[in-house]
């Protein structure tokens, strides 16, 4: 199949840390506009895989292609510039800044004015600031975090920080969004909200999303495709209902308590 249909594709990704084989020959294809979920027991290599995609880790072997272009060896900031945004399992934010400023910081690679222009704040840099603020406000509106716009991130509960982290990733205006356990540590209500946001991202913004998540109910509800990892290997891939029936998966993951 040509790359026209797949936005992001990995070929035989293999990664090891010393003697530990984290990923072996993982092939995954993300179709443009799909929500793909990556599931698997703890230590299966899900976060490592995400780190390979976003340029944090360099796989020893294998390649990552974005629209047919090899991005495996690019540094993470380049990957971000090319349109891959991500959130983190443990939230990575500036705790001493407001929500608004954190999201604005997520846009820095889209900013063009130099230091001098920004300091003087006139003409083009002012116009640019207003434009960026508009995007930020759209995201704030989208994720329904208006009441905490001016709150310091450090003072927010964890579930809220997760939303802000997602907002920060969205500020990049990515084509592909990688979400690392977006629902962990959230209340039932927050989970429902978050699942709806992910769904809306696809519907309204036509975003391609890859979600690493443990909440099977949500995964099966929102995914177009599910990929299962175990001990660094891909053991299954398919529609949610196929995965639910797959005996290998049931044995490895679904059937066991986790």
């Amino acid at each position: 199949m040509g790359d026209g249909q797949f936005l992001l594709r990995t070929e035989d990704i293999t990664l090891s840390f010393g003697g530990v084989q984290a990923l072996s020959d993982v092939n995954v294809e993300l179709k443009a506009g799909d929500i793909t979920s990556l599931i698997g027991p703890n230590g299966a290599g899900k976060s490592s895989f995400l780190n390979c995609l976003s340029g944090f880790y360099r796989p020893q072997r294998g390649s990552v292609y974005l629209n047919g272009e090899d991005i495996t060896r690019l540094p993470s900031y380049k990957v971000a510039e090319m349109g891959i945004g991500r959130t983190f399992q443990g939230v990575q934010l500036f705790e001493g800044l407001t929500v608004q400023d954190n999201i604005m910081a997520g846009r820095h690679i889209r900013m063009k004015t130099g230091i001098l222009g920004a300091a003087l704040y006139f003409g083009p840099s002012r116009a640019e600031d207003i434009r960026h603020r508009k995007v930020v406000e759209d995201i704030i509106d989208f994720l329904e975090i208006k009441p905490i716009r001016k709150a310091l991130v450090g003072a927010l509960p964890f579930g809220m920080k997760k939303k802000v982290d997602m907002a920060r990733a969205l500020a990049l205006e990515p084509k592909i969004l990688l979400l690392d356990e977006p629902l962990t540590g959230m209340s039932r209500d927050d989970k429902e909200d978050m699942a709806r946001f992910i769904y809306d991202l696809q519907e309204e913004w036509n975003m391609t999303v890859l979600v690493v998540e443990h909440d099977m109910g949500v995964v099966m509800d929102i995914s177009d495709k599910v990929v299962v990892l175990e001990y660094g290997r891909k053991i299954a891939e398919g529609l949610p209902e196929e995965i639910r029936q797959n005996e290998h998966v049931i044995k490895a993951y679904l059937g066991k308590s986790h």
């Binding site: 608004q100 508009k134 406000e137 759209d138 704030i140 509106d141 989208f142 208006k146 009441p147 716009r149 001016k150 709806r196 769904y199 809306d200 519907e203 309204e204």
Partner: protein, 632 residues
């Protein structure tokens, strides 16, 4: 044309100030303005759209969702088409939506967003006779393809088309409207049974609003003033405190960004009218106190210096005395230095009409706010009966609901119920003549509230009639009213008033506040060992007598407290005497202290009380104490 309907008021404002800002809505973090022309056109297109979809005069449209300009426009559009608006509370559940929509026989549902539309979809099969479900917040709605769903702007597009085919029809239908037409159903949830749809007329709502604005006297609202829409539009108080004052005077209607951002938005707007329940006002008091607690040393010092001056002013207002020139000058210095800053913090620098509902605010809170220059007043009214009383600025007494408004006739029935008659009373409950009959007899509205009119012609609200108790002689008293008055003293933690058909008078069991009474005792040089010891000291008994006298001063003669005791232990939630939220469990307390209560109504002036309690490990223990019985 007489301005006797809501749409006529809107059209009038549009004609006299088309390009002045009417509504400001905070969205994306900034205040967006809509002129009267914007409002008028939006209402016009939406109204004609509904008409072209088949809305007939007298038919209902239900609205649900957080306030946005579209919510008000939709409401006025339904009313302009001579229909009736039914606004629901934002947090209603699917089955409730079903009840309101089917009970009101609504032809249209206007729902803000995906969340609200989902509720409607979940019960759609149960809804007969609804033409369309219209939504105005499009996020997440792209893939919804049910044929009964329609976008807000799509309805307005139909409206424009209708206007081309029937020019002038909107102006014509507005002119046809009459003041006596029903404009809204306001559903009131009684404590029992299903909510009842109170029908209010255009002119009823307008007159209620005029009564409220009338309290402002020679300082009426104008187009430079700001009103903040923060009350739920499903409640009768919203139109009369928000949207209709806006339509009557041209004052700007400001819509907060989210219900959660109200405090912030309020600070930015500094609205002229604020209506809050006692809980909200007390919330503001504690917000201010917390703010001072966290302030810098200098601010704290200034506050400490000027606080007595604020209290002086509060007393002067409440006792209706002149403060004297010197004090006045001092207060104004304090105002510049700190009071204005505090008012600014909570967005009350421009508030001219600050009202609280029927339940009485603690006098300390009342005095605190008054001292800071916030002209807080009480009012009393009901959805079905309209406004009845209000304080005028020169006649404020914290423990009454204020004097009876001109044009309202108030009577207290033999049962002690407050009933009244005025042109503000509603037109009955929708499809429920029996319920209407119960509250509306010969034009008199029966409120179900108990109260009396005091010597200054102020109305005093006691409690719901159903909560009242009766003495042997048939005199009624309000236990909660008495108990809440006791709690206003910081020497008293809790109190319970006793009295029923077997007793001749009311008595009280009082729980002293150990910390505050303890401190008082130390200052007076009174020695004590334990709670039990302190509570039974004669001096403490005398201290409490002053509190009982104070409470008695607010009660009618025949239900004054004759005897009281100070309990030897604190009421305790672990012993089921209180709920976890510190509400008294009356029946349990009465049963537990039955022997003490017998003694109060007997001849003794001392009673030995034994109470059993359970240790954490399950063993039972007993404390016994001699409890003094005092006469008030």
């Amino acid at each position: 044309m007489e301005l006797d309907t809501i749409p006529k008021l809107l059209k009038h404002q549009y004609e006299i100030r088309p390009d002045i800002a009417a509504i400001r809505d905070k969205d994306y973090g900034i205040w967006n303005e809509y002129t009267w022309r914007d409002t008028y056109n939006n209402v016009k297109w939406f109204s004609l759209g509904l008409i072209s979809l088949g809305l007939q005069p007298g038919e209902r449209g239900s609205i649900v969702g957080d306030p946005d300009p579209e919510l008000f426009w939709a409401q006025w559009a339904i009313q302009a088409a001579r229909g009736i608006a039914v606004v629901m509370f934002t947090d209603v559940l699917g089955p409730e939506v079903q009840y309101y929509v089917t009970h009101s026989d609504s032809r249209f549902i206007i729902a803000r967003d995906q969340e609200q539309v989902d509720k409607v979809i979940s019960i759609w099969d149960e809804l007969a006779g609804v033409e369309k479900v219209i939504y105005w917040y499009y996020k997440g709605m792209t893939k919804y393809d049910d044929t009964y769903l329609m976008r807000y702007d799509e309805v307005q597009r139909l409206g424009r088309k209708y206007e081309e085919e029937h020019p002038g029809s909107f102006e014509k239908i507005i002119a046809e409207g009459e003041g006596k037409d029903i404009s809204n159903f306001f559903y009131t949830s009684g404590t029992t049974g299903l909510p009842k749809g109170g029908m209010l007329t255009h002119i009823g709502l307008i007159k209620n609003t005029q009564k409220i604005l009338g309290v402002l006297g020679g300082n009426p609202l104008n187009e430079k003033d700001d009103i903040l829409c923060y009350l739920p539009p499903a409640w009768f108080a919203e139109p009369v405190y928000g949207s209709i004052p806006h339509l009557l005077t041209g004052a700007k209607l400001n819509i907060p960004e989210e219900p959660e951002t109200v405090f912030n938005d309020m600070r930015e707007i500094a609205p002229v009218m604020i209506l809050g329940g006692p809980k909200q006002w007390e919330g503001w008091v504690s917000m201010i106190e917390a703010g001072i607690e966290n302030a810098g040393l200098l601010e704290k010092f200034i506050y400490k210096v000027f606080r007595p001056i604020a209290m002086k002013r509060a007393n002067a207002v409440i006792e209706k005395k002149e403060m004297g020139l010197g004090w006045n000058v001092l207060w104004h210095i304090g105002n510049v230095l700190i009071f204005h800053g505090i008012r600014d913090r909570i967005g009350m620098t421009r508030a001219r009409l600050c009202n609280t509902g029927a339940f009485v605010l603690a006098p300390e809170s009342f005095a605190f706010l008054t001292g800071l220059g916030i002209g807080l007043r009480q009012g009393y009214g009901a959805t079905e009966g309209g406004l009845v009383t209000a304080h005028t600025l020169d006649d404020i007494t914290p423990d009454t609901c204020g004097s009876i408004l001109p044009g309202v006739e108030v009577r207290i029935t033999d049962e002690g119920e407050i009933v009244w008659r005025s042109d503000l009373v509603f037109s009955g409950y929708h499809k429920n003549p029996e319920a209407t009959e119960k509250v509306l007899r010969d034009g008199w509205y029966h409120s179900g509230d108990s109260g009396y009119v005091n010597e200054n012609n102020h109305l005093v609200f006691l409690d719901r009639l159903s909560e009242m108790r009766e003495l042997r002689g048939g005199e009624k008293f309000a236990p909660q009213y008495i108990e809440s008055r006791f709690r206003f003293s910081h020497y008293i933690k809790d109190a319970i008033s006793i009295g029923n058909r077997d007793t001749d008078y009311v008595s009280a069991i009082i729980n002293i506040d150990y910390d505050n009474v303890g401190r008082w005792a130390e200052k007076k040089g009174i020695t004590y060992t334990t709670f039990t010891d302190l509570s039974q000291r004669r001096e403490v008994g005398d201290l409490m007598k002053r509190q009982v006298d104070r409470v008695n001063g607010q009660l009618p003669h025949e239900t004054r407290i004759k005897k009281y005791v100070l309990l030897h232990k604190e009421f305790d939630a672990d012993e089921a005497e209180l709920t976890r939220t510190r509400k008294l469990k009356r029946s349990i307390v009465e049963e537990k202290y039955a022997s003490l209560i017998d003694a109060i109504y007997g001849e003794q002036n001392i009673c030995t009380v034994e109470t059993e309690f359970t240790y954490e490990d399950g063993r039972k223990g007993k404390i016994s104490a001699d409890v003094n019985i005092y006469e008030a």
